[in-house]
Subunit: 340 residues, 2 copies
Amino acid sequence: MRPTIRDVARLARCSIATVSLVLNNKDVSIPQSTIERIWKAANELNYRPNKLAVGMITKRTKMLGLVIPDNSNAFFGDLAKAIETAARKNDYNLILCDSDNNGQRDLEYISILSDRQVDGVIFVRSEGNQQDDRKIIQIADQNGIPLVTVDRTMHGEKVYSITLDNFRGGYLAAQHLISLGHKRIGCYSGPLELNSSHQRLDGVKEALAEAGIPYDESLLFVGEYKLGRENEALAYFLDKKVTAVFAFNDMMAFGLYVSAMQMNISIPQDLSVVGFDDIFFCKLVSPQLTTVRQPVSDMGVCVVETLIRIMNGNNDGQPAIRKFEPELIVRSSTAPPKKN
Amino acid sequence: MRPTIRDVARLARCSIATVSLVLNNKDVSIPQSTIERIWKAANELNYRPNKLAVGMITKRTKMLGLVIPDNSNAFFGDLAKAIETAARKNDYNLILCDSDNNGQRDLEYISILSDRQVDGVIFVRSEGNQQDDRKIIQIADQNGIPLVTVDRTMHGEKVYSITLDNFRGGYLAAQHLISLGHKRIGCYSGPLELNSSHQRLDGVKEALAEAGIPYDESLLFVGEYKLGRENEALAYFLDKKVTAVFAFNDMMAFGLYVSAMQMNISIPQDLSVVGFDDIFFCKLVSPQLTTVRQPVSDMGVCVVETLIRIMNGNNDGQPAIRKFEPELIVRSSTAPPKKN
């Protein structure tokens, strides 16, 4: 059985109130001998305070919730690790919620986390349904739970967001392919209702416009930010005679690698591929993946620090959206298009 | 402000006791009209029960703790996802604790999880310190918290473990290299105090003995189950003139890939490499990695089900250790040794 404060009081031969004062380091005049007796008893019994009871009284659970789309995507695995580490350093624990890219589960999780009265929530949305965004924000608001989004922003005014300059990321990817001579560039995007997706696409359009290449909507294949649609996507792109594909995350790019292998398509000889995120494996795959880097660890630390500042009411004067700069990392998956 | 049961009672114009009975579906004779009025009020206010208070009363928090060494290792990322999914299906939430392969943090986390009065703990230890294993088990025991280990077992009698037949895994890896003609096989292991490490090594020894090849301890390089020691390890193995290396997990094998690239060593022409785990990226790296597969999703589901059975007192007659079967997956990172 877990020892209670009652057990400590009994062993130390004093009142529960006195034990409570001593163990909480309250500055009252209690004889030193009593203080020592109480600490000795607490240590002997391995007594530790009941965090549920502490939470009921202080209205703080020292818990944060993290909702991510897919912990098996190395980008989110790295992000979750960075967030957990930063949370621990600030004496918070983390409830991990993996929505498996299911928007309905985002709604379930915000209710669950509210019920658990976490002190704050970090959210990476699975989809960009505006109505559900509003519901999520409303549930957090009603329960007085500060919410910060990371990576993907939500539709709504009061939401703090730690994100990448996704427009610039899309621009850099397309500009690189254009500079190699590509004109028919396929975009393998995630759901376009997500701000991050359509901002990346807008960046592509900007780079095309600058180069005087008309944007062809038929070269867009909207998938999901996970494995599973790559065979369909690659067949679509080959049919459209694209010479390069910009996959909106690295996992989708790797999916294309597997499909291409099966279909005897060589990267980059037959098809150039650019990814997004720069997860560790980009350096290891063959050919090494050209990609747009997100500074995932920095973003993880930043989102925890922002959330804690908001929880402590100290976030005045901070911008609602903090954008990190993307960086193009050129490796071996991109080359000039084949001459026909 | 979060609505309380008091707000529901006020809006429904009845007592808190009546509201509590209705919302908890207690079978008492309350007029249907009152029941409807209370549910209407609760819905209008978005009232949800205070889980902290519920936890105080039921002595159940419906929370599980998960301690893993490294969420950025795709094996543990997949494992954490499988565990979170299985927990959610059973109405549990998961506190994620990433020890970053630091054994001291394992001890801190078991205390934190005990303080939070989780209903059960799933543990993948960072190291194999027997004394700390005992401390962890003791803390869980004292607080009445069931504990199940997964992947890596702990030293201790009463601990339920979901693991792989690691001896067989090591045997399969070595047997494969021996069958290709390798005699000088380097082992790039994790800490040997971990049962999983020394069992894999014992499997290697068994395969060598069967083939009549004496075991040479100088061909063992003990590292950690993460990136960081690969340059040192590869230099050591080349110095020892090994023709093949069995890395005790895939991430360490990928580390060797990066080092080999930098040192102009070709895999498998100059050096064969076998990994362990079979994470998704094994298929994507170049050359594709020959490895020993662990059924990570099945193991994740099994550990949650086992833990819940133990929590419910229904685990009688189940073996304390459940071993899954490894499978050798031969890809392109292994070949016969070069003729000199």
